[in-house]
């Protein structure tokens, strides 16, 4: 298997794609955002329970490729307990990482997505649920990756 592919499909990504965490509807969610990738049909809904500015619980539902599903799984695991500002800052870091490959030490498991930058067509898969999460902490709504670079 070639090295770039191993960088893209890291163990942690394959594992989360196979057994996604927080893959359910949160009945008491007070923020819901829907993310679609119109070009490929990837489709996720992110559910948040927010207490003021803080994410108390997070989940997702939907369908898509291994990259997008693993990304949503790790996202919902990561943002619990974080503030809206934290989530927005993390969005910026993830976006930077999947487009340039640079991951700083604070990224933890999310650093698994650094390999995505070698696959420009897959950037939108990795970032889709992050767009939805960013919209959800801001109040919810529908977002799409239509304007994403290399989409």
């Amino acid at each position: 298997m070639n090295d770039d592919l191993n960088d893209l499909y890291q163990e942690v990504i394959l594992e989360h794609a196979k057994s996604p965490r927080n893959f359910k509807v949160l009945p008491d969610a007070n923020r819901v955002a829907h993310g679609t990738n119109p070009l490929c049909g990837d489709n996720y809904t992110v559910y948040l329970v927010m207490d003021g500015d803080v994410v108390r619980d997070a989940s997702f539902q939907g369908s898509g490729c291994a990259i997008s599903k693993a990304s949503a799984s790790l996202l919902t695991s990561t943002i619990k307990g974080k503030t809206r500002a934290d989530v927005e800052a993390l969005f910026g870091k993830v976006h930077d990482m999947v487009t340039t490959g640079h991951a700083d030490d604070s990224m933890g498991k999310l650093a698994a997505f650094a390999g995505v930058h070698k696959f420009p067509a897959r950037v939108k898969c990795a970032i889709l649920s992050w767009h939805a999460a960013k919209a959800a902490v801001a109040g919810g709504g529908t977002v799409s990756t239509e304007g994403e670079e290399n989409a």
């Binding site: 070009l39 898509g64 490729c65």
Partner: protein, 411 residues
């Protein structure tokens, strides 16, 4: 007369692009339903036009304009012959199938579709043969209906044709070949049934025009739209065939130069067909390149191309069917040169990403047929689509890559 079966391997040398490595592997180009590659003869025709003959067409007096006009109009005559139209005036140059269908929806539709009329399409249509009708229906108050596909082999459910093709159907639009399934529709039979009821017919020939002999008179359609870039021609080339009587009754599409006869400040009169539908300076090089593509394809013989397409598709289908965990779409036999499939629960984009790293160019996604994907109950499929320059050895290589993908995802 069908030319003898060509040496397919030798024809590959006509396509400079095929001779390359992708990610360290020989390129296997299986995305022909999206766009085909271009032979040297077409590339040369474009270069020759721009190096020797480029000028604006029509109304020019000087030599270059005469040459450009002659080349442009010769392409129209060639296209009429290619489709066996009665008359070159029945050929309107477009940027491709999408523009052809939109021209019909906007120009013909605005004149002839009224509130309460029914526009009938099929469940396997490409977005370009759905959305223009939705816009037309919204504008006019017409109803849009879809002839269903069968659950087993995904061909049209012809047993239900009478239920859908009723007297209030004013237009019946259908794909000749489904880009997502490889289903070949019985267009001549469908057009004959529609004609009996007085409905106008449009055949979306995007996937057929470069792959099998097309005779618009034998099909009996009123409109036939196709794209040049899927049949060895340049992007931006294509044409709409319209039966003369129907085209003449159709009001203009876009207003501007070339499409007029006389213009006053308060009114204008229209040019004759097909110029009435070709406002503004067209892409002159596109039909000239398309002309070269048609000559190239007919030298090979479209009967030969079709046989080769079908052999590759059947071989690919049968080999995929022999693997575990492969879900196939469309019929087992008689399919056009493409195979849509899914591997276990691996998403099509993951299949395509990995195949690409082995040099195999596939397409994964909804193939611009979202309603069909919903009907099939899948978000997307992966698709391998062939042309005459593809070989059995490439299909076998692709099958080895599919096995690698299954191994990679542990399925």
């Amino acid at each position: 007369m069908t030319p003898p079966t060509p040496d397919w391997q030798k024809l590959r040398a006509d396509f400079p692009i095929l001779d390359q490595q992708v990610h360290g592997h020989p390129l296997v180009y299986f995305d022909n339903a999206a766009t085909s590659q271009k032979p040297r003869a077409v590339i040369d025709a474009l270069v020759r036009y721009y190096e020797r003959d480029n000028a604006n067409v029509h109304r020019g007096i000087h030599e270059l304009s005469n040459r450009a006009t002659a080349g442009y109009e010769a392409a129209r005559v060639r296209t009429a012959k290619y489709l066996n139209a009665r008359d070159p005036h029945e050929i309107v140059f477009t940027r491709g199938t999408t523009e052809g269908i939109n021209l019909v929806a906007q120009a013909w539709g605005s004149q002839f579709i009224k509130a309460g009329d029914v526009i009938l399409a099929t469940e396997m249509e490409h977005h370009s043969d759905i959305v223009p009708w939705q816009l037309l229906a919204a504008r006019t108050g017409a109803k849009l209906r879809f002839l269903p596909i069968r659950d087993d082999d995904h061909t049209l459910d012809l047993a239900r044709l009478d239920e859908f093709l009723t007297r209030d159907v004013k237009l019946f639009a259908m794909a000749h070949i489904s880009n997502a399934l490889g289903v070949v529709n019985p267009v001549a039979e469908l057009c004959a049934r529609a004609r009996q009821l007085g409905a106008v017919t449009l055949v979306d020939g995007a996937q057929s025009a470069g792959h099998l002999p097309v005779d618009v008179q034998a099909i009996g359609c009123d409109f036939f739209a196709f794209s040049g870039h899927k049949m060895c021609g340049p992007t931006g080339s294509g044409a709409l065939y319209g039966r003369r009587e129907v085209l003449e009754a159709t009001p203009p599409y876009m207003g501007g130069g070339e499409m007029i006869s006389t213009v006053d400040y308060d009114h204008s009169t229209w040019n004759t067909i097909p110029h009435k539908f070709e406002a503004g300076t067209p892409d002159i090089s596109a039909p000239i390149g398309l002309h070269a593509a048609m000559d190239y394809l007919d030298a090979i013989g479209r009967e030969n191309i079709w046989r080769h397409d079908q052999e590759l598709a059947e071989h690919c289908h049968d080999r995929l069917a022999s693997l575990n965990g492969v879900r196939l779409f469309g019929p087992a036999k008689g399919r056009a040169g493409l195979v849509s499939f899914l591997l276990n629960d691996v998403h099509a984009h993951d299949v395509v990403t990995i195949a690409d790293r082995y040099g195999v160019a596939l397409r994964g996604g909804h193939h611009c047929t979202q309603p069909l994907m919903k009907k099939l109950g899948v978000p997307s499929t992966a698709r391998a689509s062939f042309y005459f320059y593809n070989t059995k050895a490439e299909v076998d290589r692709f099958i080895e890559v599919v096995k690698e993908i299954q191994k990679f995802f542990g399925v």
